[in-house]
Subunit: 130 residues, 2 copies
């Protein structure tokens, strides 16, 4: 998805219910496998950039700046579809993930699981989800 | 998943990085199909109840109370696996969803999608995701 026109982008941003900090949580899901890759945050500006470029851009709460996912690592997320929920306060990004999504070099950030009464690491670096 | 012992529950809660309101965003995903069903919020108490009962319990920010998902509608979420991410500030609940997850009677809350230059409703009530 690329080249969404300005009026459409404005209409989408207008519908999103941002929180008191101007942010909305965004889930990234691999569009074909269904893997949930990560949860990050977007503001209006990052949504605008994502819909304009077709490459996912978040808002980094720690750095307080736009976070063009994969800009340095090359592990970009190409936007396949932009979705949002019934209350308009959560976003679901259907993406094509290039390489690992996680900064630990794992495919997904959700690699801790409670299994057999303990927290286990269920995904190794540079592997796909079990 | 039921009957997680108290020491394990305490260890899990201790590892979660709750926000300044004592909350963490939680994604519910149907464990077998991979559908992302909803995003809601949990506090320590709702995590404790979820891991004890095996039925998902959120924290309702609007009602400021525990939200035992499906308690009135019957649309419960049985917990299959509790996961959390690299930064420990997001939870992924692998669930068995009974009926629709959304209060609009749709399977998933994420039924708005930007397609063909406009926001479309991509899921009808009591249908599964396209």
């Amino acid at each position: 998805m690329t080249g969404v026109d300005e009026a459409t982008i404005a209409a989408v941003i207008d519908r999103i219910a941002f929180d008191e900090k101007g942010l909305v949580p965004a889930i990234a899901q691999q569009h074909d496998s269904g893997e949930v890759l990560m949860l990050a945050w977007m503001n209006a500006e990052s949504i605008r950039e994502t819909l304009t470029s077709g490459q996912v851009c978040y808002w980094s709460r720690s750095r307080r700046s736009l976070w063009r996912k994969g800009e340095t690592s090359g592990h970009r997320q190409r936007l396949v579809e932009f979705r949002f929920d019934c209350d308009r306060d959560a976003v679901l990004l259907m993406v094509e993930q290039q390489g690992p999504a996680c900064h630990t070099d794992r495919r997904s950030c959700f690699f801790h699981a409670l299994r057999d009464g303990t927290v286990r690491v269920i995904l190794e670096p540079a592997e796909t989800a079990s």
